[in-house]
Amino acid sequence: MTTTTPFSRRFLFGALLLLPLLTGIGKAHAGPDVASLVENGCDACHRLEASIPEEGRKGPDLFFSGNKFQKQWLLNWLQSPQPVRPSGYTSDPGFLEGKPTVAVPHPAADAPEAQALTEALMQMKVEGLETAPPEVAEPLSKGLRFKIKILFERDYGCIACHQTVNLVGEPRGGVSGPTLLNAGDRLQAEWVYNWLKTPARFEPKSRMPVFDLTEEERIQLTRYVMWHKTEKEEK
Protein backbone atom coordinates (compact mmCIF):
# COMPACT_ATOMS: atom_id res chain seq x y z
CA MET A 1 0.00 0.00 0.00
CA THR A 2 1.48 3.35 -0.93
CA THR A 3 1.66 5.47 2.19
CA THR A 4 0.59 8.48 0.15
CA THR A 5 -2.98 7.22 -0.33
CA PRO A 6 -5.06 9.37 2.01
CA PHE A 7 -6.89 6.61 3.77
CA SER A 8 -4.19 3.99 4.05
CA ARG A 9 -3.05 5.43 7.37
CA ARG A 10 -6.58 5.54 8.71
CA PHE A 11 -7.20 1.96 7.76
CA LEU A 12 -3.85 0.83 9.00
CA PHE A 13 -4.98 2.04 12.41
CA GLY A 14 -8.29 0.16 12.12
CA ALA A 15 -6.43 -2.87 10.88
CA LEU A 16 -4.10 -2.85 13.86
CA LEU A 17 -7.11 -2.90 16.16
CA LEU A 18 -8.63 -5.82 14.29
CA LEU A 19 -5.40 -7.71 13.80
CA PRO A 20 -5.58 -9.93 16.90
CA LEU A 21 -9.22 -10.76 16.19
CA LEU A 22 -8.72 -11.71 12.57
CA THR A 23 -5.52 -13.62 12.90
CA GLY A 24 -7.32 -15.51 15.67
CA ILE A 25 -10.09 -16.45 13.26
CA GLY A 26 -7.56 -17.38 10.61
CA LYS A 27 -5.80 -19.73 12.99
CA ALA A 28 -8.98 -21.31 14.28
CA HIS A 29 -9.98 -22.26 10.74
CA ALA A 30 -6.44 -23.02 9.59
CA GLY A 31 -7.46 -21.00 6.52
CA PRO A 32 -5.34 -18.94 4.16
CA ASP A 33 -2.95 -16.34 5.44
CA VAL A 34 -5.01 -13.16 5.61
CA ALA A 35 -2.28 -11.24 7.45
CA SER A 36 -1.13 -9.26 4.40
CA LEU A 37 -4.73 -8.25 3.72
CA VAL A 38 -5.32 -7.17 7.30
CA GLU A 39 -1.99 -5.31 7.41
CA ASN A 40 -3.15 -3.35 4.41
CA GLY A 41 -6.53 -2.54 5.90
CA CYS A 42 -8.54 -4.43 3.28
CA ASP A 43 -10.81 -5.75 6.02
CA ALA A 44 -12.05 -2.23 6.76
CA CYS A 45 -14.28 -2.55 3.69
CA HIS A 46 -14.21 -6.20 2.60
CA ARG A 47 -15.28 -9.36 4.41
CA LEU A 48 -12.36 -11.78 4.46
CA GLU A 49 -14.36 -14.50 6.25
CA ALA A 50 -17.94 -15.66 5.70
CA SER A 51 -18.47 -15.62 9.47
CA ILE A 52 -18.10 -11.83 9.74
CA PRO A 53 -21.51 -10.04 9.86
CA GLU A 54 -22.69 -8.53 6.55
CA GLU A 55 -23.67 -5.21 8.08
CA GLY A 56 -21.33 -2.34 7.42
CA ARG A 57 -19.69 -3.80 4.34
CA LYS A 58 -18.28 -1.08 2.12
CA GLY A 59 -16.98 -3.31 -0.65
CA PRO A 60 -17.62 -6.72 -2.21
CA ASP A 61 -16.79 -9.87 -0.23
CA LEU A 62 -13.35 -11.35 -0.85
CA PHE A 63 -13.51 -14.63 1.08
CA PHE A 64 -14.06 -16.57 -2.16
CA SER A 65 -11.52 -14.61 -4.24
CA GLY A 66 -9.71 -17.82 -5.19
CA ASN A 67 -12.90 -19.13 -6.78
CA LYS A 68 -13.87 -15.86 -8.43
CA PHE A 69 -10.89 -14.02 -9.86
CA GLN A 70 -8.17 -14.76 -12.37
CA LYS A 71 -4.77 -14.41 -10.78
CA GLN A 72 -3.25 -12.20 -13.47
CA TRP A 73 -6.19 -9.81 -13.36
CA LEU A 74 -5.87 -9.45 -9.58
CA LEU A 75 -2.15 -8.81 -9.81
CA ASN A 76 -2.67 -6.05 -12.39
CA TRP A 77 -5.78 -4.56 -10.85
CA LEU A 78 -4.35 -4.22 -7.36
CA GLN A 79 -1.54 -2.10 -8.82
CA SER A 80 -3.77 0.08 -10.98
CA PRO A 81 -7.38 -0.43 -9.92
CA GLN A 82 -10.06 0.74 -12.38
CA PRO A 83 -13.75 0.93 -11.47
CA VAL A 84 -15.57 -2.38 -11.91
CA ARG A 85 -18.94 -1.07 -10.75
CA PRO A 86 -19.61 2.26 -12.47
CA SER A 87 -22.02 3.31 -9.70
CA GLY A 88 -20.01 1.81 -6.85
CA TYR A 89 -20.67 -1.15 -4.58
CA THR A 90 -24.39 -1.66 -3.84
CA SER A 91 -24.09 -0.27 -0.31
CA ASP A 92 -22.41 2.96 -1.47
CA PRO A 93 -24.42 6.02 -0.33
CA GLY A 94 -23.93 7.49 -3.82
CA PHE A 95 -25.04 4.34 -5.65
CA LEU A 96 -28.53 5.47 -6.69
CA GLU A 97 -27.12 8.75 -8.02
CA GLY A 98 -24.46 6.84 -9.94
CA LYS A 99 -21.75 8.70 -8.01
CA PRO A 100 -19.66 6.31 -5.92
CA THR A 101 -18.16 7.78 -2.75
CA VAL A 102 -16.28 4.82 -1.20
CA ALA A 103 -12.75 3.90 -2.27
CA VAL A 104 -12.66 6.39 -5.16
CA PRO A 105 -10.02 5.73 -6.28
CA HIS A 106 -9.47 2.26 -4.83
CA PRO A 107 -6.23 1.97 -2.82
CA ALA A 108 -3.33 0.81 -5.01
CA ALA A 109 -0.47 -1.48 -4.08
CA ASP A 110 3.09 -1.56 -5.40
CA ALA A 111 4.31 -4.66 -7.23
CA PRO A 112 5.67 -6.68 -4.25
CA GLU A 113 2.59 -5.84 -2.15
CA ALA A 114 0.28 -6.76 -5.00
CA GLN A 115 2.11 -10.06 -5.34
CA ALA A 116 1.62 -10.89 -1.64
CA LEU A 117 -2.03 -9.76 -1.67
CA THR A 118 -2.75 -11.80 -4.80
CA GLU A 119 -1.19 -14.93 -3.26
CA ALA A 120 -3.33 -14.50 -0.16
CA LEU A 121 -6.53 -13.77 -2.12
CA MET A 122 -6.10 -16.75 -4.45
CA GLN A 123 -5.98 -19.04 -1.40
CA MET A 124 -9.32 -17.78 -0.15
CA LYS A 125 -11.90 -20.27 -1.40
CA VAL A 126 -15.26 -21.72 -0.50
CA GLU A 127 -15.99 -25.44 -0.83
CA GLY A 128 -18.76 -27.28 -2.60
CA LEU A 129 -19.20 -25.28 -5.81
CA GLU A 130 -20.83 -27.06 -8.72
CA THR A 131 -18.32 -28.19 -11.34
CA ALA A 132 -18.96 -26.45 -14.65
CA PRO A 133 -19.19 -28.59 -17.80
CA PRO A 134 -16.13 -28.28 -20.09
CA GLU A 135 -18.16 -26.34 -22.71
CA VAL A 136 -18.00 -23.17 -20.62
CA ALA A 137 -14.34 -22.83 -21.58
CA GLU A 138 -14.81 -23.46 -25.29
CA PRO A 139 -14.45 -20.48 -27.65
CA LEU A 140 -17.71 -19.06 -28.92
CA SER A 141 -18.48 -18.97 -32.63
CA LYS A 142 -19.92 -15.74 -33.97
CA GLY A 143 -23.23 -17.39 -34.81
CA LEU A 144 -23.72 -18.83 -31.36
CA ARG A 145 -22.59 -15.60 -29.77
CA PHE A 146 -25.33 -13.68 -31.63
CA LYS A 147 -27.85 -16.26 -30.48
CA ILE A 148 -26.81 -15.90 -26.87
CA LYS A 149 -26.77 -12.14 -27.25
CA ILE A 150 -30.51 -12.32 -27.77
CA LEU A 151 -30.83 -14.31 -24.56
CA PHE A 152 -28.70 -11.75 -22.72
CA GLU A 153 -30.27 -8.61 -24.15
CA ARG A 154 -33.82 -9.57 -24.97
CA ASP A 155 -35.03 -12.61 -23.05
CA TYR A 156 -33.41 -11.63 -19.77
CA GLY A 157 -32.64 -7.94 -20.30
CA CYS A 158 -29.24 -8.32 -18.55
CA ILE A 159 -27.90 -5.39 -20.57
CA ALA A 160 -30.19 -2.99 -18.70
CA CYS A 161 -27.70 -3.19 -15.79
CA HIS A 162 -24.45 -4.55 -17.26
CA GLN A 163 -22.13 -2.98 -19.81
CA THR A 164 -21.26 -5.39 -22.61
CA VAL A 165 -20.15 -5.19 -26.23
CA ASN A 166 -22.59 -4.37 -29.04
CA LEU A 167 -22.49 -5.69 -32.59
CA VAL A 168 -19.84 -3.23 -33.73
CA GLY A 169 -17.68 -3.81 -30.67
CA GLU A 170 -18.69 -0.71 -28.71
CA PRO A 171 -19.55 -0.77 -25.03
CA ARG A 172 -23.17 -0.29 -24.11
CA GLY A 173 -25.53 -1.13 -21.29
CA GLY A 174 -26.59 -0.09 -17.83
CA VAL A 175 -24.41 1.08 -14.98
CA SER A 176 -25.88 -0.40 -11.80
CA GLY A 177 -24.15 -3.78 -12.14
CA PRO A 178 -20.46 -4.56 -12.52
CA THR A 179 -19.18 -3.96 -16.04
CA LEU A 180 -18.75 -7.18 -18.00
CA LEU A 181 -16.53 -5.62 -20.66
CA ASN A 182 -13.46 -7.43 -19.31
CA ALA A 183 -15.25 -10.24 -17.44
CA GLY A 184 -13.33 -12.89 -19.39
CA ASP A 185 -10.05 -11.50 -18.03
CA ARG A 186 -11.36 -10.90 -14.53
CA LEU A 187 -13.57 -13.86 -13.63
CA GLN A 188 -13.33 -17.65 -13.58
CA ALA A 189 -15.90 -19.37 -15.81
CA GLU A 190 -16.85 -21.79 -13.05
CA TRP A 191 -17.57 -18.95 -10.66
CA VAL A 192 -19.85 -17.26 -13.21
CA TYR A 193 -21.62 -20.59 -13.75
CA ASN A 194 -22.20 -20.91 -9.99
CA TRP A 195 -23.16 -17.25 -9.54
CA LEU A 196 -25.90 -17.55 -12.16
CA LYS A 197 -27.57 -20.33 -10.17
CA THR A 198 -26.97 -19.36 -6.55
CA PRO A 199 -25.99 -15.71 -6.33
CA ALA A 200 -26.96 -15.56 -2.64
CA ARG A 201 -24.08 -17.88 -1.88
CA PHE A 202 -21.66 -15.13 -2.90
CA GLU A 203 -23.69 -11.99 -2.26
CA PRO A 204 -26.45 -12.19 0.32
CA LYS A 205 -27.67 -8.71 -0.58
CA SER A 206 -27.41 -8.27 -4.33
CA ARG A 207 -29.52 -5.83 -6.34
CA MET A 208 -29.67 -8.31 -9.20
CA PRO A 209 -32.84 -10.36 -9.68
CA VAL A 210 -32.56 -14.13 -9.23
CA PHE A 211 -33.15 -15.99 -12.50
CA ASP A 212 -34.41 -19.52 -12.87
CA LEU A 213 -32.28 -20.45 -15.90
CA THR A 214 -32.30 -23.76 -17.67
CA GLU A 215 -28.99 -25.61 -17.60
CA GLU A 216 -28.44 -24.74 -21.26
CA GLU A 217 -29.11 -21.05 -20.71
CA ARG A 218 -26.80 -21.06 -17.72
CA ILE A 219 -23.95 -22.54 -19.77
CA GLN A 220 -24.61 -20.18 -22.68
CA LEU A 221 -24.74 -17.06 -20.54
CA THR A 222 -21.51 -18.10 -18.78
CA ARG A 223 -19.81 -18.45 -22.16
CA TYR A 224 -21.16 -15.11 -23.32
CA VAL A 225 -19.95 -13.33 -20.19
CA MET A 226 -16.54 -15.01 -20.49
CA TRP A 227 -16.27 -14.04 -24.16
CA HIS A 228 -15.83 -10.43 -23.05
CA LYS A 229 -12.06 -10.05 -22.97
CA THR A 230 -9.85 -7.05 -23.60
CA GLU A 231 -8.21 -8.99 -26.40
CA LYS A 232 -10.83 -11.11 -28.11
CA GLU A 233 -10.03 -14.18 -30.13
CA GLU A 234 -12.32 -13.35 -33.07
CA LYS A 235 -13.81 -16.42 -34.63
Binding site: F146, R154, A160, R172, V175, S176, P209
Partner: protein
Protein backbone atom coordinates in the same frame (compact mmCIF):
# COMPACT_ATOMS: atom_id res chain seq x y z
CA UNK B 1 -18.52 -21.63 -53.24
CA UNK B 2 -16.91 -20.11 -50.18
CA UNK B 3 -18.32 -16.78 -51.28
CA UNK B 4 -21.77 -18.17 -51.11
CA UNK B 5 -21.25 -19.63 -47.66
CA UNK B 6 -19.92 -16.27 -46.53
CA UNK B 7 -22.94 -14.49 -47.89
CA UNK B 8 -25.19 -16.92 -46.21
CA UNK B 9 -23.38 -16.33 -42.93
CA UNK B 10 -23.50 -12.58 -43.18
CA UNK B 11 -27.18 -12.70 -44.08
CA UNK B 12 -27.73 -14.69 -40.93
CA UNK B 13 -25.76 -12.13 -38.97
CA UNK B 14 -27.84 -9.31 -40.41
CA UNK B 15 -31.05 -11.11 -39.53
CA UNK B 16 -29.84 -11.70 -36.01
CA UNK B 17 -28.76 -8.11 -35.71
CA UNK B 18 -32.18 -7.05 -36.89
CA UNK B 19 -33.87 -9.25 -34.32
CA UNK B 20 -31.75 -7.64 -31.65
CA UNK B 21 -32.39 -4.10 -32.77
CA UNK B 22 -36.10 -4.76 -32.86
CA UNK B 23 -36.49 -6.55 -29.60
CA UNK B 24 -33.49 -6.03 -27.36
CA UNK B 25 -33.17 -3.94 -24.27
CA UNK B 26 -29.88 -2.08 -24.73
CA UNK B 27 -29.79 1.55 -25.75
CA UNK B 28 -29.83 2.07 -29.51
CA UNK B 29 -27.82 4.70 -31.34
CA UNK B 30 -30.68 7.15 -31.92
CA UNK B 31 -32.10 7.14 -28.45
CA UNK B 32 -28.85 6.88 -26.50
CA UNK B 33 -28.57 9.61 -23.92
CA UNK B 34 -32.03 11.06 -24.47
CA UNK B 35 -34.66 8.63 -23.33
CA UNK B 36 -37.95 9.00 -25.10
CA UNK B 37 -40.69 9.75 -22.61
CA UNK B 38 -43.37 7.07 -22.59
CA UNK B 39 -46.63 8.23 -24.07
CA UNK B 40 -50.04 7.31 -22.74
CA UNK B 41 -51.57 4.15 -24.13
CA UNK B 42 -48.29 3.30 -25.75
CA UNK B 43 -48.62 0.12 -27.77
CA UNK B 44 -46.69 -2.90 -26.53
CA UNK B 45 -43.06 -2.64 -27.56
CA UNK B 46 -42.69 -6.32 -28.31
CA UNK B 47 -45.79 -6.83 -30.32
CA UNK B 48 -44.94 -10.39 -31.34
CA UNK B 49 -45.04 -11.71 -27.79
CA UNK B 50 -48.51 -12.93 -26.93
CA UNK B 51 -49.90 -11.49 -23.73
CA UNK B 52 -50.41 -14.35 -21.33
CA UNK B 53 -53.76 -14.61 -19.59
CA UNK B 54 -53.72 -12.49 -16.47
CA UNK B 55 -53.82 -14.71 -13.39
CA UNK B 56 -56.51 -14.15 -10.79
CA UNK B 57 -54.96 -12.50 -7.77
CA UNK B 58 -56.44 -11.91 -4.32
CA UNK B 59 -57.72 -8.48 -3.27
CA UNK B 60 -54.58 -6.33 -3.30
CA UNK B 61 -55.46 -4.08 -0.36
CA UNK B 62 -54.73 -7.06 1.87
CA UNK B 63 -51.06 -6.18 1.33
CA UNK B 64 -50.39 -2.80 2.90
CA UNK B 65 -47.41 -0.65 2.01
CA UNK B 66 -44.87 -0.97 4.81
CA UNK B 67 -41.35 0.32 5.45
CA UNK B 68 -40.16 -2.99 4.00
CA UNK B 69 -42.05 -2.31 0.76
CA UNK B 70 -40.36 1.06 0.34
CA UNK B 71 -36.97 -0.42 1.20
CA UNK B 72 -37.50 -3.15 -1.40
CA UNK B 73 -38.43 -0.54 -3.98
CA UNK B 74 -35.30 1.49 -3.21
CA UNK B 75 -33.06 -1.57 -3.28
CA UNK B 76 -34.28 -3.22 -6.47
CA UNK B 77 -36.51 -0.89 -8.47
CA UNK B 78 -34.91 2.53 -7.96
CA UNK B 79 -31.81 1.59 -10.00
CA UNK B 80 -34.07 1.92 -13.06
CA UNK B 81 -37.28 3.65 -11.92
CA UNK B 82 -35.48 6.27 -9.81
CA UNK B 83 -35.48 7.07 -6.10
CA UNK B 84 -38.85 8.83 -6.37
CA UNK B 85 -40.25 6.49 -9.02
CA UNK B 86 -40.09 9.08 -11.79
CA UNK B 87 -38.46 6.68 -14.26
CA UNK B 88 -35.06 8.36 -14.05
CA UNK B 89 -32.86 5.78 -12.30
CA UNK B 90 -29.17 5.41 -13.12
CA UNK B 91 -29.83 2.79 -15.81
CA UNK B 92 -32.55 4.84 -17.51
CA UNK B 93 -30.24 6.54 -20.07
CA UNK B 94 -29.01 3.09 -21.11
CA UNK B 95 -32.24 1.19 -21.71
CA UNK B 96 -33.80 1.09 -25.19
CA UNK B 97 -37.23 1.64 -23.65
CA UNK B 98 -37.27 4.00 -20.68
CA UNK B 99 -38.38 2.64 -17.31
CA UNK B 100 -41.99 3.61 -16.56
CA UNK B 101 -42.63 6.75 -14.59
CA UNK B 102 -44.50 5.39 -11.55
CA UNK B 103 -45.84 8.82 -10.68
CA UNK B 104 -47.71 9.20 -13.95
CA UNK B 105 -51.40 8.66 -13.26
CA UNK B 106 -52.53 9.10 -16.87
CA UNK B 107 -50.73 5.88 -17.87
CA UNK B 108 -51.08 3.84 -14.71
CA UNK B 109 -54.85 4.39 -14.60
CA UNK B 110 -55.02 2.38 -17.80
CA UNK B 111 -53.35 -0.62 -16.16
CA UNK B 112 -55.09 -2.92 -13.69
CA UNK B 113 -53.45 -4.03 -10.44
CA UNK B 114 -53.38 -7.54 -11.87
CA UNK B 115 -51.50 -6.35 -14.96
CA UNK B 116 -48.92 -4.53 -12.84
CA UNK B 117 -48.53 -7.59 -10.62
CA UNK B 118 -48.02 -9.77 -13.67
CA UNK B 119 -45.32 -7.55 -15.20
CA UNK B 120 -43.43 -7.31 -11.90
CA UNK B 121 -43.60 -11.05 -11.30
CA UNK B 122 -42.97 -12.34 -14.84
CA UNK B 123 -41.12 -9.43 -16.44
CA UNK B 124 -41.81 -6.96 -19.23
CA UNK B 125 -41.48 -9.50 -22.03
CA UNK B 126 -44.13 -11.81 -20.57
CA UNK B 127 -46.56 -8.92 -20.24
CA UNK B 128 -46.18 -7.46 -23.73
CA UNK B 129 -43.78 -4.82 -22.41
CA UNK B 130 -40.07 -4.23 -22.96
CA UNK B 131 -37.53 -6.86 -21.81
CA UNK B 132 -35.53 -4.28 -19.83
CA UNK B 133 -38.11 -4.74 -17.09
CA UNK B 134 -36.82 -7.89 -15.37
CA UNK B 135 -38.93 -10.64 -13.80
CA UNK B 136 -38.87 -10.53 -10.01
CA UNK B 137 -40.81 -13.74 -9.31
CA UNK B 138 -37.71 -15.62 -8.18
CA UNK B 139 -36.49 -12.77 -6.00
CA UNK B 140 -39.65 -11.43 -4.33
CA UNK B 141 -42.66 -13.33 -2.98
CA UNK B 142 -46.23 -12.64 -4.12
CA UNK B 143 -47.09 -10.70 -0.95
CA UNK B 144 -44.21 -8.30 -1.55
CA UNK B 145 -45.17 -7.89 -5.21
CA UNK B 146 -48.77 -7.05 -4.21
CA UNK B 147 -47.55 -4.46 -1.76
CA UNK B 148 -45.24 -2.99 -4.44
CA UNK B 149 -48.30 -2.63 -6.70
CA UNK B 150 -50.00 -0.74 -3.86
CA UNK B 151 -46.90 1.40 -3.42
CA UNK B 152 -46.95 2.28 -7.12
CA UNK B 153 -50.61 3.28 -6.65
CA UNK B 154 -49.46 5.60 -3.87
CA UNK B 155 -46.73 7.05 -6.09
CA UNK B 156 -49.20 7.84 -8.89
CA UNK B 157 -52.03 8.79 -6.54
CA UNK B 158 -54.20 6.77 -8.85
CA UNK B 159 -56.38 3.70 -9.17
CA UNK B 160 -57.11 1.52 -12.18
CA UNK B 161 -60.05 3.04 -14.08
Amino acid sequence: MTGRIRNHKSLKAVLLALALVLGACGEDKQSAGRPRPPTENEPPVVATVPVEPVPQTPAPKAHPVTAKTKETYQWYCAQCHGVKGKGNGINAPHTAVPPRDHTKAAYLETRSDEQLFHVIKFGGLAGGRAPCMPRWGHTLDDDMIHSLVNYIRELCHCEAL
